[in-house]
């Protein structure tokens, strides 16, 4: 885990850290400000991250307490943004607190009009079987006498929020399976 410097903690007690709490507590701002330090970020674990939206790559600090993300803010030590964030970067806490997130693996059978909840074990097995079935049916080892080891019947689309390590693992797996239809948000 990353060490957060004393300088960062000092900066954390600044005005921006309390703004939200003021809104939520809704009384005397001074008291609220003081209370917020106690209630919100005192003893919270602080972890630096990078904004998941645009490619400026602003630094963000994530405050976690009692298995909850209690606060997020611009990283004062980050050389690009030095605490500042735009309206998207300022909203990242809601990525965790949202109740709209997909909760479980979901399955929709052919012709059905609803999702069914599944567990990961079932889901992984079923997807692996689908991949193997399609791959084995369509795999071409040679074309025109040349080894080509490919299947053109499976496609893989990546998103631009995937991390480098994730990209590496995905592309390694897909190329080994023989995919040629490998594309990414970067194209479009």
């Amino acid at each position: 885990m990353i060490e957060v410097t004393r300088r960062q903690f000092l900066k954390l007690s600044g005005a921006t850290a309390a703004t939200l709490a003021v809104i939520e507590l809704g009384f005397d701002p001074k008291k609220a400000q003081a209370a917020s330090k106690e209630l919100k970020i005192a003893e919270s674990k602080v972890t630096p991250t990078i904004c998941p939206y645009c490619s400026v790559g602003c630094g963000i600090l994530v405050h976690v307490k009692n298995d909850d993300v209690v606060y997020t803010e611009g990283d004062p030590d980050h050389p690009i943004n030095r605490s500042t964030l735009c309206s998207k970067g300022n909203s990242v806490r809601q990525l965790f607190t949202s109740d709209r997130r997909v909760k479980k693996p979901m399955y929709r059978a052919p012709g059905s009009n609803t999702w069914e909840e599944k567990d990961w074990d079932w889901t992984l097995d079923r997807i692996a079987e689908k991949i193997k079935e399609t791959r084995d049916k369509t795999f071409v080892t040679h074309d025109d006498g040349m080894p080509v080891n490919r299947t053109e019947a499976i496609a893989n689309l990546g998103g631009a929020a995937l991390e480098n390590e994730e990209c590496y693992l995905i592309v390694k797996l897909m190329r080994s399976l023989g995919l040629t239809n490998i594309e990414h948000q970067a194209r479009i």
């Binding site: 400026v56 735009c86 990525l95 997130r101 299947t151 995937l162 590496y168 970067a186």
Partner: protein
């Protein structure tokens, strides 16, 4: 970006064209503002008076799709008025090279064109060579076939009158831009070009960028602080995911993926045909062998060409549009999607939906139910009973619920630590890839068929835990010496004999010289002390080799001294006989004035010179203006209307709109509050509240003509379909005067869809399946439409 965000502050002039940083990269404006405080000028060229335009010193409106005309005019202005950086152009570019006598250009077509295949045979796009094979040069630049003279001739047709009649830019505004930006050709000055998808999403997208690159070379602005050709990339790791080759035509590190062809029929053939004799890419066989070792581990041996035959060989272009066309044609049966949403973000969405309906199975992993995961629902316009696709929607962990690095636009590879366990039953994408790989390995365990072999050859050694060990992944990406197990320091350490392994050579060095078990990931560095010129060399890691400004040799003059004292990059220390400075030299540190490469800053190219004339592009060695696929006017520069090298898709649902039916030029854009296809923001309360509705922005003049008032519901139609949106009537669009004709222009955000809190029509129902000739990026930014009251 050739440069990086903090570096913008050193610029004397920032030309924003095809981008809108104030709204789409808001924090970057810190550095734009800083530059302005220091006297730098900000110019915005855009079809719409954007928020960046609002804080600019000069705004020039330009009809969407006319960048080459606009920039071609500036190139002409620089050459006619001799505003170029003379020494830089003579010594660091190929201006003095003499072009082959067989090369020619006439009425929009370069030599070597084949109309049937809509492509060029490029053998005449070359330089004259002497008996020894050396390129013939004329450093006086007076020979009529020098690149300089041929370029001058080509762009002499781009005079201000013609250019402005095509772009619709008022002449006074155009001249202000020309004077101000071209002033950065003075040797002590630099200017930057900042662009984004407004540049790339055109049938001539790549040539648009090439035109910027040429202008910057002429003005001596590449490789220098405050200069460069800077793509403002739109997503947190679009840079990294491109670097890692999640694209059909690439392996990690921009090594071309092998194809089914004689040129690539074996590793030897590939190396022979794809390795240039000089320049940095002459090391390609080492990068490739090391990559294959990473891919196949012990199963990659010298005897089996390091497993080269296992690697899939494609036989055609599989890029995004082609992929959906072949899905529609029934060739693709299954698809895995990791955080992409083509039902909103793809072009020609009606066709995307029809293609998805033909799949046997679809796996969509995301934080939210995206429009793509829900393509089979009634709200998507489908009849669920008729859609036979099995769909898996997998809950993905959020960005701070996992660990790993992302690479920003300035190529800084920055680590994200895990702050909290994944929400609900979600998992990271790497967990899913890892567990899927292991299940597939089990399924294939007893299968010894030829089909199983290439898959079973894969090396997958990321630990025994439920999650892959990120440290092991990172060591593999960096690469290591297979004899000692120590990680390599630099891509120069990689070998072609199978003794090194590296998953992505351009990243080799971010995890340097570490013994097995020793942790040393530079993406985690957090020293925020300025190491000079705000390059922050000890913050994170920038590929390649922690270099912050690419081609930085060009920041110094022919004596190895910085061109200007307030823009120092690297310089030659005569006493120590070495290059030194505020950045990691993009150049051999020991290169001395007597070395032949002393004047060659562009080390990725075989001759080391900036390519004012270059054969790499599909549609010509110089950029030439062609109209968008759907355009309201005939091309003023030649009788060739459309880029002659683009592929035209026929078949179902690929209707082309004509100006008689759809007279208005339309473009799409982004908003500060939403991101891409909107799943990551339209599911959050705050951004949804501040930007809740889909709208179309139109001028007061057009609104009046059509009887449309602010907030009216309107229908926007194109040859592909119709959508509804609210009218936003503004002064930010004005009718254009194009070739004597009045042309209206509208714009709309492309973030909306039918899922999430804030919902609205999908703009991409309107856009066509037509792509750039080099990259096949769809032409989202210029198409024809009509607008009426709903």
């Amino acid at each position: 970006m050739t440069n990086h965000w903090n570096d913008i502050q050193f610029s004397d002039c920032m030309l924003v064209i095809g981008g809108n940083p104030a709204e789409n990269h808001p924090i970057s404006m810190k550095y734009v503002t800083k530059a302005k405080k220091n006297g730098g000028k900000l110019i915005t060229v855009d079809p719409r008076f954007t928020r960046t335009a609002a804080v600019s010193d000069i705004y020039a409106p330009m009809r969407s799709g006319t960048d080459i005309a606009f920039i071609g005019g500036l190139i002409n202005y620089v050459l006619e008025n001799k505003l170029y950086h003379d020494e830089y152009v003579r010594k660091y570019t190929n201006a003095s090279f003499i072009i082959s006598e067989d090369y020619d250009f006439e009425d929009g077509i370069f030599t070597g064109y084949d109309e049937d295949s809509r492509s060029y045979e490029k053998s005449t796009w070359v330089f004259e060579r002497d008996e020894e094979g050396n390129i013939v040069k004329d450093e006086s630049l007076s020979h009529p076939r020098t690149v300089y003279q041929m370029m001058k001739k080509h762009f002499s047709r781009y005079d201000v009158e013609t250019v402005c009649s095509v772009t619709g830019t008022p002449k006074e505004d155009y001249l202000k831009v020309a004077e101000t930006f071209c002033g950065t050709g003075a040797k002590e000055k630099t200017g930057t070009i900042m662009y984004a998808m407004g540049t790339t999403q055109h049938t001539v997208g790549s040539q648009n960028i090439r035109a910027y690159g040429m202008l910057q070379l002429l003005l001596g602005n590449v490789g220098r602080a405050g200069g460069g050709v800077n793509a403002l990339r739109g997503e947190c790791n679009v840079q990294g995911s491109t670097d890692f080759g999640l694209l059909f035509h690439l392996m990690p590190g921009y090594i071309g993926a092998p194809t089914q062809s004689e040129r690539h029929q074996s590793l030897d053939a590939y190396n022979e045909n794809e390795t240039p004799a000089a320049g940095f890419w002459s090391n390609k066989p080492k990068f490739l062998a090391s990559y294959l070792k990473a891919q196949y581990g012990k199963n990659a041996t010298k005897a089996n060409d390091f497993g080269y035959d296992f690697f899939p060989k494609g036989r055609r272009n599989y890029s995004h549009i082609s992929l959906f066309e072949s899905m529609y044609d029934g060739e693709i049966k299954g698809m895995l999607i990791w955080g992409q949403n083509p039902m909103v973000g793809g072009a020609n969405v009606r066709k995307v939906r029809a293609a998805l309906q033909k799949l046997d199975w679809l796996v969509a992993m995301d934080l939210w139910e995206t429009e793509t995961a829900a393509f089979w629902k009634e709200k998507a316009g489908s009849n669920p009973a008729e859609v036979q696709t099995e769909v898996f929607m997998l809950p993905a962990a959020g960005p701070f619920e996992k660990e790993g690095s992302v690479t920003n636009s300035g190529r800084w590879m920055q680590y994200r630590w895990k702050a909290i366990d994944p929400k609900n039953d979600s998992r990271s994408d790497s967990w899913f890839a890892h567990n899927l790989a292991i299940r597939l390995q089990k399924l294939y365990a007893n299968d010894n068929s030829e089909i199983a072999k290439p898959f079973k050859a894969m090396d997958w050694s990321f630990g025994d835990s439920d999650y892959p060990d990120m440290d092991l992944v990172n060591r593999e990406i960096n690469g290591y010496d297979l004899n000692t197990g120590r990680t390599v320091n630099h891509f120069a350490d990689l070998k072609d004999d199978g003794t090194t392994s590296s998953g992505n050579w351009i990243y080799a060095g971010f995890y340097p010289d570490a013994a097995p078990g020793e942790e040393k990931n530079y993406a985690k560095r957090r020293d925020d002390k300025d190491t000079g010129m705000e390059n922050y060399l000890n913050w994170s890691y920038a590929w390649p080799a922690n270099r912050r400004i690419l081609y930085n040799r060009a920041s110094a003059d022919l004596n190895g001294k910085p061109w200007s004292s307030d823009k120092e990059g690297i310089w030659y220390d005569k006493a120590a006989e070495t290059w030194t400075g505020y950045d990691v030299p993009d150049f051999g540190v020991a290169t001395s004035p007597s070395d032949p490469g002393w004047e060659n800053p562009f080390i990725m190219l075989p001759d080391g010179k900036g390519g004012l004339f270059a054969a790499g592009m599909a549609e010509g060695p110089f950029p030439e203006h062609y109209e968008p696929y759907e355009s309201p006017v005939p091309n003023a520069f030649s009788s060739v209307q459309l880029n002659p090298a683009v592929k035209i898709w026929g078949g179902d649902m690929n209707q082309k709109g004509e100006a008689a039916d759809f007279p208005i030029v339309a473009t799409t854009y982004r908003l500060t509050e939403h991101w891409q296809s909107g799943s990551m923001t339209r599911n959050l309360e705050w951004p949804s509240e501040i930007m809740p509705h889909m709208f179309v922005e139109l001028s007061e003049e057009l609104a009046k003509e059509k009887g449309i008032k602010e907030k009216d519901k309107v229908v926007i139609s194109s040859a592909r379909g119709e959508i509804e949106a609210f009218a936003m009537v503004t002064k930010r669009f004005k009718p254009y005067s194009v070739r004597g004709q009045k042309v209206h222009h509208v714009g709309m955000p492309w973030h909306y869809g039918y899922e999430g809190i804030a919902t609205g029509s999908i703009a991409n129902y309107l856009t066509p399946h037509i792509g750039d000739a080099n990259t096949m990026i769809p032409e989202y930014k210029a198409f024809l439409c009509d607008v009426r009251r709903a």
